[in-house]
Symmetry: C2
Subunit: 328 residues, 2 copies
């Protein structure tokens, strides 16, 4: 039986998070949960777990791993438009390797400093088998701000992404040995896989501009699919408009297209914005020095379709599934 993590959470744990138990809460299933903690403020919390051999290679540079452990959680906060306030670290390690720990802490700490998201607690335990990392990140939203919910996309919205896609998946394929790298592009590309930059400032600046947002951790098709499903809408994206990292031009175009449509671990934001706010999105991008790409449009008819040469093809998710995918 191969259930994905979404089905798992849905089936066994979602009912534990009933709206009745916490009025005003937006529960399990979005990038992060929102709690109306006090007048004036809402708390935003998320938790992502990384496991050795599944989410990272055993020989990954420990400072990159420390960076990524926090980055994937900051990305979830960004996808809600939240301002980070702190994080907690759960860490299981088989042995105490001081060099490794110091480097891991340095990588996590540098990102925590940059986004003012200090480590405020945690638990470190022995794990006989392998390394696992469970980071919880906390952020805040003003009480009048609904946040960038997955369920808030509206018919007619433009669909945007915050940067080029495809690099992490191509880097992963090279590292797994399933894609040749004759021009030795890996050293540049693996930075995209191992040191994603969470779009923290962008998320906050999209408040009041964007309707819905999600981070592309599981692949554009799967993640945009979550937004469409939660919002009860459909979409058409224009394959010609999808931003592709130009360093990928040396690889087989069909492999690159798959990486762009289905490849996970990207941590760019995908967001939907009413068409009349197009100039505001462009202004936000310019203020942050970030090129933003308009890739499609939300429509009433359900399903996610790709448009190319005037014809439409339905895109079915084949993104990242922690239980279906072979270990890395």
């Amino acid at each position: 039986m191969a259930l994905g993590e979404f089905s798992l959470i849905d089936r066994y744990f979602k009912r534990l998070a009933s709206p009745a138990s916490m009025p005003g809460m937006v529960g399990v299933g979005d990038d992060a949960a929102i709690l109306p903690i006090s007048p004036g403020h809402k708390l935003v919390v998320c938790k992502d777990v990384l496991v050795e051999g599944r989410h990272f290679f055993s020989d990954v540079a420990p400072d990159a791993l420390g960076h990524k452990s926090l980055a994937v959680n900051l990305s979830d906060l960004a996808a809600m438009g939240a301002k980070p306030i702190g994080c907690l670290l759960g860490l299981g390690v088989p042995t105490i390797n001081e060099t490794w720990l110091a480097s891991f802490a340095a990588g996590l700490g540098a990102l925590a400093d940059r986004y003012r998201c200090p480590l405020i607690g945690g638990d470190t335990v022995a794990s006989e088998q392998g390394i696992f990392i469970s980071v919880t990140a906390l952020g805040t939203l003003h009480e009048k701000q609904p946040g960038l919910l997955r369920s808030a996309a509206e018919v007619g919205d433009d669909i945007w992404v915050s940067g080029p896609l495809g690099v992490p998946d191509i880097a992963l394929r090279i590292l797994l040995g399933t894609l040749a790298d004759p021009q030795n592009r890996l050293p540049g590309l693996r930075v995209g896989l191992e040191r994603p930059e969470p779009r923290v400032a962008l998320g906050q600046q999209l408040l009041g501009v964007a309707n819905a947002a999600i981070d592309i951790s599981d692949g554009l098709t799967q993640d945009l699919g979550h937004v469409l499903q939660a919002s009860g809408v459909g979409a058409v994206i224009d394959l010609e408009q999808l931003p592709v990292d130009q360093r990928l031009a040396v690889f087989d175009p069909s492999v690159v297209r798959d990486a762009v449509l289905y490849g996970g671990d990207v941590y760019e934001l995908c967001f939907t914005v009413p068409a009349q706010y197009r100039p505001r999105v462009i202004a936000v991008g310019e203020s942050l020095g970030l090129e933003l790409f308009r890739i499609g449009k939300v429509r009433r008819q359900p399903g996610l379709f790709a448009q190319t040469d005037g014809s439409l093809t339905e895109l079915k998710p084949k993104g990242f599934d922690h239980f279906a995918r072979s270990a890395r």
Copy 2:
């Protein structure tokens, strides 16, 4: 090299949680961290990780495991005097066993309902090797309330514990096969090990009464030692006053004494209270139907000493250490 979890956190991660990075924060090292999140409220957060083969047996009843995963975190909130508001679950499982997951979720959910601490998010991943569980619990404190800090014990305070000690350690020894159980006491005793009851209401009622508090997760000697060290004080406890579960009377008294002084996994609170508040502590205990035990006194001279028959013996920690102890 055998560093304990405390040294690990201290050495590599504590400096990441500098007060400068979060004014008003009480950082890594207490049962939970306190953040001044908004006018009127402080947020209290904690995270405890449980690993198969180390913190629980592989064949533990899954509903008991779900209960305990949340209970140990609610206990940390209780030790701060915080009111629970929600929790997040990070779960790694090797395979998808629907019966196991449903039972685990039921155990966690029942405790979450009882303490109004709904599951608000999480991440479930495949873990090739074994089960690990990382729960984060969130609570609140009123802004005028400092919380029950480890560092707040005062010279002259009485030292109290919230219930009998020793049961979980004796149950563990029987389960490990290192202690004989001729009268088959295990069925009753293992409930104490596997289904600890967090002292959530007690913690909140001790606000304004107690100075310092901690939960006895790592053993009375070690945990009270943390309070004394953080507060820059010492203490004398009266061995005759230590509450021992009467079901332990059938075991060797020296084994029981060790279990009471050093055995972890108890999740009773140990707290210090100015002597003039003694009647208030008794009233709190009566209002909750909980027998509270006064076991000693805080004094200026450093170190933790046990008094018996008029002589003093220094107690050195040999409590739970996740890296020194053999796997369960």
